[in-house]
């Protein structure tokens, strides 16, 4: 499977005008690639994830195209996307654990979901069992109500359900944020296992946690204020980040072993710009220690090294 996103722009309608959540984003995801999408709040990463499957009615697709395996995805049309959802492109949404209907037993819910796609439940039953084993869930889980499961179990259940029809692309949006650190590891590794076992072809993992995505992804894309800042293979971006935002983000991470007395970390002063009326040029300009005159012109997202893209005049 190959995903190709070209100049995608998505806005949100509000009473005060359009919030330009995604403003001209272009990138590609190769077959069997796990791409990590990292950004802070307001960066547009969740919008990007949701726009690929069109799950939020407040979004307005304003421009750009998304091509999956050569076919264009009708991301502007809610109805047309319906046939792609769950089967070709699937999502494990944020707060997925709250997505389970508390009044339904889990097995019944899966049955209803599968039969809504005109597939007989009995035919997927064996596969479902196999996947439950894969993620470490007991088959008895199907007979329980969501209330009886822990957060990590619910999360894994939602992951199994979302991938039941072997989608080509899986979007995992902050799937481990609300979990304990030990559960987080189990869930993250289960997710990677989906790709390794060919249950999904490629994955986009959206998170704010840089260290987590380092563990899981083949490539990492960093977003800032609705635009892409940098994209490269995981090791590359961590050892030689070229965009100042990425550099500062990495240096702001406290690691086990780093103590205040030893090395004082520093954050990034300032706040991201308003997306209602963003400033022209590079959006990181106001907070960038390397900003200079040319930054009032928007830097293009270009290749600065082998398979390494960055949107910065200084990186080129």
């Amino acid at each position: 499977m190959t995903l190709s996103v070209s100049d995608l722009a998505v806005h949100y309608r509000t009473t005060r005008g359009d919030v330009r959540a995604l403003d001209g984003v272009s990138f590609g995801v190769a077959d069997r690639e796990i791409m990590g999408l990292v950004g802070e709040s307001g960066s547009g990463k969740t919008t990007l994830g949701k726009s690929l499957i069109r799950l939020d009615s407040r979004m307005r697709h304003v421009g750009g195209t998304v091509t999956l395996d050569g076919r264009e995805l009708p991301i502007g049309d809610d109805r047309a996307m319906n046939s792609f959802r769950f089967a070709e492109v699937s999502i494990v949404p944020q707060y997925a654990m709250s997505a389970l209907n508390p009044t339904r037993k889990i097995g019944r819910m899966v049955r209803e979901l599968v039969e809504s796609r005109k597939i007989r439940f009995a035919s997927v039953r064996a596969e479902l069992d196999r996947r439950l084993d894969l993620v470490g869930l007991d088959r008895a889980v199907l007979d329980r109500y969501p209330l009886e499961l822990s957060g990590g179990m619910k999360q894994r259940m939602v992951m199994v359900i979302s991938t039941l029809l072997n989608p080509a692309l899986l979007i995992a949006d902050e799937v481990t944020s609300a979990l304990d650190v030990s559960t987080q590891r189990a869930v993250a590794q289960a997710l990677v296992g989906f790709r390794d076992h060919d249950l999904v072809r490629s994955m986009i993992v959206i998170t704010h946690d840089f260290s987590l995505v380092y563990q899981m992804a083949d490539t990492i894309t960093v977003m800032y204020a609705g635009r892409l800042a940098e994209k490269a293979a995981t090791e590359t971006i961590v050892t030689t980040p070229r965009h100042p935002y990425t550099q500062q983000l990495i240096s702001a991470l406290p690691e086990v072993g780093v103590r205040y007395g030893g090395k004082r970390l520093s954050g990034i002063p300032g706040t991201p710009p308003s997306l209602l009326d963003p400033p022209p040029g590079c959006r990181f300009r106001d907070r960038c220690p390397l900003a200079f005159a040319k930054c009032v012109e928007e830097p293009p997202f270009v290749e600065v090294g082998p398979d390494h893209f960055a949107a910065c005049w200084k990186a080129q």
Binding site: R13, T14, T15, R16, E40, S41, G42, T46, R58, Q94, Y95, S98, E174, S177, A178, T207, H208, D209, A225, P269, G270, T271, P272, P273, S274, L275, L276, D277
Partner: protein
């Protein structure tokens, strides 16, 4: 040092969605925390909401009629002023009753009485319900158990049976008594709703912070919790008005209403007693019936509109 974008001080902060945490549960009817300023957005949507504006217009029209109407007619709506059983004409806009009473005079006086009962009854029920609800919700524990039990008992009391007993003992009943009775029977649902909302609000961290600032309990309820429910409390009162009017009319129609004076329900009662329907005197029972239905309906529609205004998830953008 962090700085805020000075371009638009009222814009929502870009980081309005914290990373990776479930959003705080929004209580239905309470304006959301994240996003645009509460009151301004409420007013913006209020003006545009057809149900709210329409319903309010109807209610205000009837209210105006109730306030102004009695000034244009004779003081005593029960006086025998004209020929009996006349259909609407130039002199008697809504015709006359079997006894020659002016139906229009009765109508406008009755409207006034109905509104009065509605307001007073709603106030009593509202205040009572809120006191019980806030106390039970905030205190919890034994106090909550007792108050909830009282609430449930009043809720299941057979209203009609109790009222008939009261009617048997009180020979003379007036509008005030009726309003009190309505108030005393209408408060339980308010108490339950307020209690539920108080429960969810009292575990919010700003209440903890108020405790850490040395604020006494009463101040916490009034200044921290209640304002957050303001929109909901507003809706509660609207519903109570509508409910009280309907309740009063119901009592009047079945004969448990005030023994003196006139109200819309009493008009219906009289009309029924004197076979207005069989005699085809539509002008006697249709106006009051229609008025009650319209006013109460308008209140409820206003309420639906208000719910849309306050709860962003219901809005059609």
């Amino acid at each position: 040092m962090t700085t805020v974008n000075p371009a638009d001080p009222t814009e929502p902060a870009a980081s309005s969605m914290p990373p990776g945490e479930p959003p705080p549960a929004t209580v239905p009817g309470v304006a959301t925390v994240h996003g645009v300023p509460v009151r301004r957005e409420a007013l913006y949507f209020a003006r545009r909401n057809k149900k709210l504006v329409g319903g309010l217009a109807v209610v205000l029209a009837f209210l105006a009629l109730a306030l102004v109407g009695p000034l244009f007619v004779a003081d005593d709506p029960l006086a025998y002023v004209g020929p009996p059983a006349q259909p609407p004409s130039g002199t008697y806009w809504l015709g006359t009753t079997t006894f020659g009473q002016d139906v229009f005079a009765q109508f406008v006086h009755g409207l006034r009485a109905t509104f009065l009962v509605g307001i007073v009854g709603a106030l009593i029920a509202g205040v009572l319900g809120m006191v019980v609800g806030f106390t039970a919700g905030y205190r919890g524990g034994a106090v909550d158990e007792i108050l909830t039990m009282v609430t449930n008992v009043v809720l299941v009391l057979p209203v009609l049976a109790v009222l008939m007993i009261i009617a048997a003992y009180l020979q003379v009943r007036n509008v005030a008594v009726q309003a009190v009775i309505i108030g005393l029977f209408s408060w339980p649902w308010v108490a339950r709703a307020v209690r539920a909302q108080t429960f969810s609000l009292r575990s919010r961290e700003f209440v903890d912070l108020a405790k850490l600032s040395g604020a006494p309990v009463r101040r916490i309820i009034f200044t921290e919790i209640a304002p957050n429910m303001a929109s909901y409390l507003f809706m509660v009162f609207i519903l109570l008005f509508g409910g009280a009017v309907l309740f009063a009319a119901t009592l009047d129609v079945i004969g448990l209403g005030p023994t003196d004076g006139i109200s819309l329900g009493l008009m219906l009662n009289h009309a029924k007693q004197w076979s207005a329907m069989n005699l085809g005197m539509w002008w006697w029972f249709i106006p009051p019936g229609l008025a009650i239905t319209t006013v109460v309906g308008a209140f409820y529609i206003m309420n639906v509109g208000l719910d849309e205004v306050f709860n962003p998830k219901l809005r059609e953008m």
